[in-house]
Amino acid sequence: MATIQKTTKIDNLEQEILIGANSVKLSSLLTEKDYWQTNGRIKRTILTHDAIKRLADMASINKAVEYAVLTQPNAYNNYQYTMQAKVCGISGECVVELGEANRSNLGSKGRNNPANMAQKRAYDRAVLRYLGITGLLSEEELSDQDPEEKMDELSHDDKRKIAPIINQLLLARSKKQMVLFNRAMKEKAKDFSEPQLTYLRKLYQKRLAELQKVSF
């Protein structure tokens, strides 16, 4: 799970939305509990589902949201639920958005209730669209960080391409082997992308430290 980072001012929260006839700054409608930022190179501002519901109420969005289940999970669609949410304001203006939940975009918290996750995603997207909020994500968009992401943000195919190199590192038994590995990698490096090399460098340092029996 991405962790909370306290910030003093977040640009995306300075946008204005229409509440009734008045244009109001988003930051003035939210408390610190309503949003947070992810860690990492790209910081994303996340709104909680409860905050989005409160914003919808403030904007007098009709609570009787229309939902439709567009796809049921099966083995051929990665067990995906696709839900459609239609939200309407008192003016009669409506917005339709989709929400999907499958085994790849759910973390451990949503894995047991994918229909509910698809519904929340559809609702949150529809409300954000209705209010014209941009640059923010609903918390329901985030899957937990799965352990496989310990290989940073490499795709399955990227990981597979470097698997033989990883094996050399995992099976190295001496510092001398690591030196030879390092020399060979100078030649091979051009075959790999920067994220692949970044991961391999980190794993190399970890293995070297393990072989030297020092803490790293």
Partner: protein, 293 residues
Amino acid sequence: MELTEQQIGLDRIRPSALDLYEKCPRWFYYKYWLGLELEEDRLHMDFGTAIHEAIHAIFLEYDNNFGGGWEYASFSNVLKQFGTFWKPNHVTDLSLENYVNTVAGRASSIRTKQELYQYFKNDAVAMLRSYWNEKERLLIDYNHDLAEFEVAMKVELRNPLEPNEKLPIPMTMRIDAINRTRTKLVDFKTSGSKYNQAETRQKIQGQCYLFGILMETGVLINDFDYVVIRKGLKSEDRIQVVSLNYDMADMAALYQRIKMILVGISNKEFSPPAIGHSPYCGCYQYERALKVK
């Protein structure tokens, strides 16, 4: 949507890989899909191989005495064969470290590799002696007149009920033994614990062997026996036979089971099981090894 080899990302599948996917897709992902290797303790695998070879020798004795069967057979040849495949270098530092950290290891006085090697050797003699003593009974009661050993196969995966329906990758396997009349397959296991009949029947691995024979010959062998040779028992009786019987409906169900696993792999469903995920699962070893800061 039709499955393709490209989507699956593998050019063949083994029964042990299918078994692992059902246990933990994450572990399967690291081991078979990415093909990552960890330094592993091969002690039990090497020991099992040596036991297999020695049992093979028991049946060679049956056939190699000019028709005299086991009347002229010698148990010392069996032990000799075991000794050819069980060497002191099979016990590594890692094997010893793992062993002394087990409950049995802590309770025993074994603290050196030589002692551990000897312990396994003594246990093997007891296991093979038990099999030797039981061989005639196994032959008569279970039709274990074993004539083919280590049968390697590579078969297409076709729906037994719809032969035109085929999965995109073949299955490769190695069957421990087939009896002379080709009416039974046998798989040997060395294990400290007893096998449960109902649980064992569900195992995908044994069914795959029957399926392989069906695919290759068009003939279904219905009977499959696990011969469990028990390790570390005080009792001299170390043999457990789990007899299983499958029919064509089981094979049709197995085909669908394999298909669903391949669909899962092509969908990149590599999350660990939501329930029943063992805290000792092998996937954690990979994650520890691959984790970087």
